[in-house]
């Protein structure tokens, strides 16, 4: 094992994929620029040449269709967009072509493309640079939707996504890029799509979480342990298809569930998980399932509004304490000078 940042892990996955398979190509606005999409695409052009690694016109929709065409022609395109929001222009090619190509042609031809999208948060990203629309993608049959939390999963899941014969939406939370974690030495280390992971075992309540919210969950669980509540944290890793079995097993044990989501609550991954678990475990649950997600409002730009809008470990502690009719003082817990940055490394503006 060695320690890598989340972005370095992604960079390694891309490097490995391109090295072991000549059919992998990488493009997107900025992939060859000096900052290399938050360091994730650095050095790829030098290593693999301009034919396989290239910048592109500001044409998200066409370039997604181009990926579809290139993939049915035998390539494995990996696209990147600096924000998920910019990719909304490409929903037509994604939904009407990529997602159903295999289905509507009776399994004759599939579309092995990977689309990396970055979810923004903080520093006034606001209504058009911070949307967390994983539920949109998850709603479409034929798409796989992956949301890694740790550097290890970022690498293993990206490799798995690139070599999956289907379109995969790979969602990176901007606040994870500089997080550090252990990554196996194995060059071609893979993590299965469609499997979640128990980040921490516990007995009293199941926390199902995804992406950046899993980091907040880890902090919250420590505080809750101090207060006698033992949490089991399940990191979803893939939000479609969901690994229901692992969730069910955990809930059967803890009999309580709270789901954390990086998106707004209505019609979200969290609300679907709560719905399914409630139906299945109606008689087993000891308290009402809970959700911590964003309000059903666009992300406000102002620093003076975003603090209340976003949720963190404190909110999780308070909500879970509530489920146990407890009161836990969080006034001194995880206080930071500015709520709108993940750490000192983030100096804005992007």
């Amino acid at each position: 094992m060695r320690e890598l940042t989340f972005s370095k892990a992604i960079n390694e996955a891309l490097e490995t994929a391109m090295r072991i398979d000549d059919s992998v190509i990488k493009y997107g606005l900025g992939v060859t620029d000096p900052l290399g999409v938050f360091n994730t695409t650095l050095d790829l052009e030098e290593k693999f040449g301009k034919d396989r690694v290239f910048d592109m016109p500001t044409s998200e929709n066409a370039m997604t269709g181009v990926a579809v065409g290139a993939s049915i022609g035998g390539l494995k395109p990996v696209m990147t967009h600096q924000r998920l929001d910019f990719f909304l222009l490409a929903m037509d090619q994604l939904v009407n072509n990529a997602a159903k190509w295999n289905f509507m042609f009776g399994g004759n031809s599939s579309v092995p493309i990977t689309i990396r999208l970055i979810i923004g948060r903080g520093w006034g990203q606001g209504p058009t640079h911070a949307q967390s629309l994983q539920a949109w993608f998850a709603h479409i049959p034929g798409l796989k939707v992956v949301m890694p939390t740790t550097p290890q999963d970022a690498k293993g899941l990206l490799l798995e996504s690139i070599f999956d014969p289907n379109p995969v939406i790979f969602l990176e939370h901007r606040w994870l890029h500089n997080m550090v974690g252990d990554v196996p030495e194995d060059d071609d280390f893979r993590v299965a799509i469609g499997k979640c992971e128990i980040l921490k075992s516990g007995n009293d309540v199941t926390i199902v979480s995804m992406s950046y919210m899993s980091i907040e969950a880890i902090h919250a669980a420590e505080k809750l342990t101090e207060n006698g509540i033992s949490c089991e944290i399940i990191d979803l890793k893939t939000v479609s298809p969901v690994d229901w079995e692992t969730i069910y097993e955990s809930v059967e044990k803890t009999k309580r569930i709270i789901v954390l989501d990086t998106s707004s609550e209505f019609a979200s991954i969290a609300s679907d998980i709560v719905a399914k678990v409630s139906t299945k475990f109606f008689n087993v649950l000891k308290s009402a399932p809970q959700i911590i997600a964003l309000p059903d409002v666009h992300s406000p730009t102002s620093y003076h509004l975003s603090g209340n809008y976003y949720k963190d470990a404190k909110d999780i502690v308070v909500e879970i304490a509530n489920m146990f009719d407890k009161n836990i003082d969080v006034s001194d817990f995880m206080t930071k000078e500015h709520h709108d940055i993940p750490g000192d490394w983030f100096k804005g503006p992007f």
Binding site: P34, L35, M56, T58, Q125, H298, T301, P349
Partner: protein, 320 residues
Amino acid sequence: MKIDKEILKKIYLTAFKIRKVEEEIADRYKEQEMRCPVHLSIGQELVPAVYSMFVTENDYAVSTHRAHAHYLSKGGSINKMIAEIYGKETGCSKGLGGSMHLIDEEVGFMGSTAIVGGTIPVGTGLGLSIKIKQENKISTVFLGDGSTEEGVFYESLNFAAVKDLPVLYICENNMYSVYSNLEVRQPKNRKIYKLAESIGIKSSHANGYDVEDCYMKLEEAINYVKENKKPFFIELDTYRYREHCGPNYDNHIGYREEQEYKKHLEKDPLNIMKEYLSDESLDIEEKKILEKIDDAFTFAKESQIPKYENIEKYIYKEKN
């Protein structure tokens, strides 16, 4: 110089106002109180400054992520813009939008948004409303070179051409989309205005660093739209001095040459205009502008912060 000195003075002062507002934002950005992305127009002031000579508050304009200059050239309130960037209740978008989402409908600035190409059809639609309501005004769409690569660009221009809409498309070609040079995005030797022309829209090209050229061609373009009630597309070459997003210079990071920046700086339209005017009374005017800018920052800093309880209020418009 074919431009009357009085007119040139006005152009200069508008460009000066834009630059000083932008520089003040850049200087104060490190205080970390303007906590949102800012795309500055320093280096690109001439086009909007000249533009402001030919339109009134009655005309419409829409813009992009890089909108400060357009907003100001249309007469948008400095106070409300700065307050918006500070995330205050008194901001033009109540702090909800920030630098990338400006609006001042009182002066016809109908909105700027941050998704590339997003306002090209919106400005075209404003043109449709002008036409159907038979109003005496024009709609201007400010756009960058990058946005002409989006599908909505073609779709909007095509519609404007089919319907003869009174829309002026002002394409500020600064050669970059973030760090990506035009060369990797569009074919060599194919000018953007030629593309627009081939869609069926009368088009022209001007040097956005040459006041005379800029003035003549913009006047011609705007008059064409006003008189013929048909669309016009003008491409103007320009240059941003600072990084794509943020207050700093970034010529050292490797996506462009310092030399390219210096070449433009040597031809800086503000310097050239000021030298040509060599008018001592300018100092007084400049001072007045600087005071206004200072006031705007004071206003923004002292303004109330928005109340979180209110944000749901703006999801839907209340029924009357």
